[in-house]
Assembly symmetry: C2
């Protein structure tokens, strides 16, 4: 981890992309800019470990990160894959609790970080900030809801289809007919872990969807040729029917 020394205006432009701060009044932004730090992490480095007391809030502004938990048998389960902009473990930080899971950067990353006490001060000064925070937590709860529902899908193909469509839906003010292009937020082995399947199964599933002409895999980026095909997989496990 390295602490960078950016200009104040650079900090400010990063700050405006972070969900929780985006709608803050100018006055708060000024105050926050003064206490923000810009940190750099290398690929594989940890942001925090499960059990540590939360004292700092990291906002991912570039790169990628994953939240994972170590299971009793020693293996790791990825709970969340983050692409910027994203807040990492905001709930634990605000409550001052130990982190319930660990955070590792899947690529070289930059975070905008704040010490806990500064944030608490901010909440107490601005009641609307508390509501924004609650809104963020709601959003995260909602994401987990989606994730658990996805994991409920019977077979690997459905889970992968569901995962890919998640990207198509979220980032799409573009041409509706054009083939959307998705860049995976982490190496495929991590994606597989997140989806609850083995890397081999993910590979086979991609190959299968590629043979069907639904997608085109080019390293870490995937072109969605027939979103319709993927949707049919979710509707019924036989996409050829419709």
């Amino acid at each position: 981890m390295k602490t960078l020394r950016p200009t104040s205006t650079a900090l400010r432009s990063y700050l405006q992309r972070v969900p929780l701060f985006a709608q803050c009044p100018e006055e708060d932004l000024d105050r926050v800019t003064g206490v923000a730090m810009l940190l750099q992490f290398e690929r594989g480095e940890h942001g925090f470990h499960a059990g540590e007391k939360a004292t700092r809030l990291d906002a991912l502004v570039s790169g990628g990160a994953q939240i994972y938990r170590t299971l009793p048998d020693g293996s790791a389960k990825t709970l969340h894959l983050f692409s910027p902009p994203a807040l990492l473990a905001e709930a634990a930080v605000f409550m001052g609790f130990p982190f319930p899971a660990s955070c590792q950067f899947t690529e070289e990353s930059l975070t905008l970080s704040f010490r806990r006490e500064h944030l608490i001060e901010l909440v107490e000064r601005d009641p609307a900030f508390a509501w924004r925070l609650i809104g963020q937590l709601y959003r995260k709860l909602h994401e987990f809801t989606d994730m658990i529902a996805s994991h409920g899908q019977k077979n690997a193909v459905s889970r992968v289809a569901s995962y890919l469509l998640g990207f198509v839906r979220s980032a799409r003010p573009e041409a509706p007919g054009a083939p959307a292009c998705v860049t995976l937020p982490a190496p495929k082995k991590d994606i597989a872990n997140y989806l609850g399947i083995r890397p081999e199964s993910l590979s086979r599933t991609f190959a299968q969807l590629e043979r069907a002409g639904a997608i085109l895999v080019e390293g870490q980026s995937i072109r969605i040729l027939q979103a319709e095909y993927l949707e049919n997989i979710l509707l019924d496990s036989d996409p050829a029917e419709s």
Copy 2:
């Protein structure tokens, strides 16, 4: 759904068992008691449906409820199984958003319910209340985290063991050596759905654990004879080893 007319003191005693209100100052409790309703739901009845605007907060005080989502293919996935006392969809209510999932009572149940506007008023009057709310959301997030990690477990036996141990750990100020007794919060088919397996698989898994002498199944209640055995399943998929 039926609206009951309990005495004010009865309401008050229910209220004190609800997490969010338990630590409220007397003054707030008085105010809340005045606007609380006691509702009765029959088994199978819905508390709310996905997509409806959240206007009322239900706190489960007796019975049981499940939160589920309908998947694209028409099947339902149980996201949460609640035993009293529990808050149902508090985040959606406070944010005034549509419910992201549906709520159905798995047994005849009683809820202590509040209209949204009354709660908003309460938050604005008492800033500490907002923190309690954030704490609740944190707890729920944490639960989801556990749940996703559990679902990551490879085989059905591990998931069931993990599920059972969850009860043992949470409700256990009792004798450490004595066999703990768990009452399932819903019919087995719903438990199976929640665990992401088929009812048949759950049945077989229970039978298997019973043959091993780890548990004793008596209808909806399960006696844990060897918690140690279950823990070993999680440590390594071969409990006989240790």
